[in-house]
């Protein structure tokens, strides 16, 4: 392990890793945020409309079937090299878990609960915001969490086609295999991404604690 601590002790490594971590967080958070907004709308639509449900779900899962390197590359001629193609592609990837869990979360709300809300004269919009979404929230949040984990990992690949983030450190290592120093870079980038994933996970734990009403916890 000595070699690794040496690598980490180097100030230039530290500077590199820190700025790449910041880029990686940006590369994860922005697509997830966009995907939450889009996914909520798509999920609600898919829940409402039996006709649109399977088209929405199959299009969204088709995105996830396209290999990330290919999707990044496809976007480069359109939006140029850099963070933009990565952000667009990662948004498309993050959609599936969010849409799917929004749909299944909404379906998991007890029908008697929705019916009694209707029976008391709540309009469709009110039922959605006051009854259905709050009760679907734990499942939806789980979907956002999965989407985030997915995005953190795939974001590394953006580096292969000129994107920012911790993938750059891994890519540096790959190009030098089996030369000295390559293992350090591979480990440095990978471990940093895993730590980032764990941090995001803890964040979601905290968000769950804060936002899931006590009445529907567990």
């Amino acid at each position: 392990m000595a070699f690794f601590t040496e690598y980490l002790a180097d100030p230039s490594t530290q500077r590199e890793l820190l700025s790449q971590t910041a880029e990686h967080i940006y590369l994860t958070a922005v697509p997830v945020l966009i995907a939450v907004i889009l996914g909520l709308g798509l999920g609600i639509t898919a829940h409402r409309s039996p006709q649109l449900r399977s088209p929405i779900l199959s299009v969204v899962s088709t995105f996830l079937t396209i290999p990330s390197l290919a999707l990044f590359a496809l976007l480069i001629p359109i939006v140029g090299i850099g963070a933009t193609p990565a952000i667009i592609a990662l948004t498309l990837y993050a959609l599936l878990p969010i849409v799917r869990n929004t749909v299944s979360g909404l379906f998991s709300v007890d029908r008697a609960v929705v019916e009694s809300a209707k029976g008391m004269g709540m309009s469709a919009t009110m039922r959605l915001w006051k009854i259905e979404l709050p009760n679907a929230w734990p499942v939806m949040l789980a979907g956002v969490r999965v989407a985030t984990l997915l995005t953190v990992g795939i974001a590394a690949i953006a580096a292969l086609v000129g994107g920012p983030g911790l993938g750059q450190e891994i890519f540096t290592g790959i190009r030098r295999i089996p030369a000295a120093g390559s293992l350090e870079s591979l480990l440095g980038g990978t471990v940093a991404i895993v730590l980032l994933a764990i941090l995001f996970d803890l964040l979601y734990l905290a968000i769950g604690r804060l936002t899931i009403p006590r009445g529907i916890r567990e």
Partner: protein, 278 residues
Amino acid sequence: MSTTLTPPDAQDATRRQQAMDEDAASARRDRRAAVIRYLGMPVFLLLVLLGLYLWVTSQELDSIEARTLTLDSLLGQTQQHITLTLYSTFFVLLLAVPLGILATRPKLRRYAPAIIGLGNAGQAIPSLGLLALLFYIFRTQPALPSTGTFPVVVSLVGYSFLPILRNTMVGLDQVDRFVLEAGRGMGMSNRKVLRSIELPLAVPVVLAGVRTALVLNVGTAALAFLFGGGGLGETIFSGFQLRRTPVLLTGAILVAVLALLVDYIAGLIEEKLTPKGL
């Protein structure tokens, strides 16, 4: 009493009419949906390939582009890509599915949550990093072969192993919970339960595993070029490095089409082989 009435809620008022139309419409929809489901994807992929061909041939390719985009090299890379995908899928299934079945047997049950937890945690490891680390081991251990398909396939298997194991176990676990007790309740022996209930019910779980593994591996095989394993990732990457859009797009589109095609075929197989009524 005053008769000031608000206009009827549009949704509720139109429902009567909708109810009547629904029957005929749903039958029509079903038929159209079936056609789209079976033919939509292949037709779409064909059109994409045709479009790509027409576009590339209409371009004036410079010498670098012309050299990269030969039919030979593209076919060769496609073949490499498919080989990598099939090998890694075969081996990962060979390892992960029996292990998954074993790990869900009553005697080993108590380890199941830990293994599934490990599988979940494995999601946090980036594919690029894991592949590179596995490949690094091959390159630096003199006892192991350092070039060719073998190290790449092992790396791909190493990457897809945990997800497939986890999916198999979760799938079997669900089957078990609902059905086992019913079987026991009818007085079947353990072996009879395994043979006549669990294994048939495990078929869809295994088939789903095949599909997942194929899709996962066809995607990661796009990274194989980084480790000397070839595949269509090579074209994408040279297109990017040489700043040649036709090359970049050709690679990207071929990879995407291949992945979608693999997923489509795996989906068909899954559907056809899944026992009816499950």
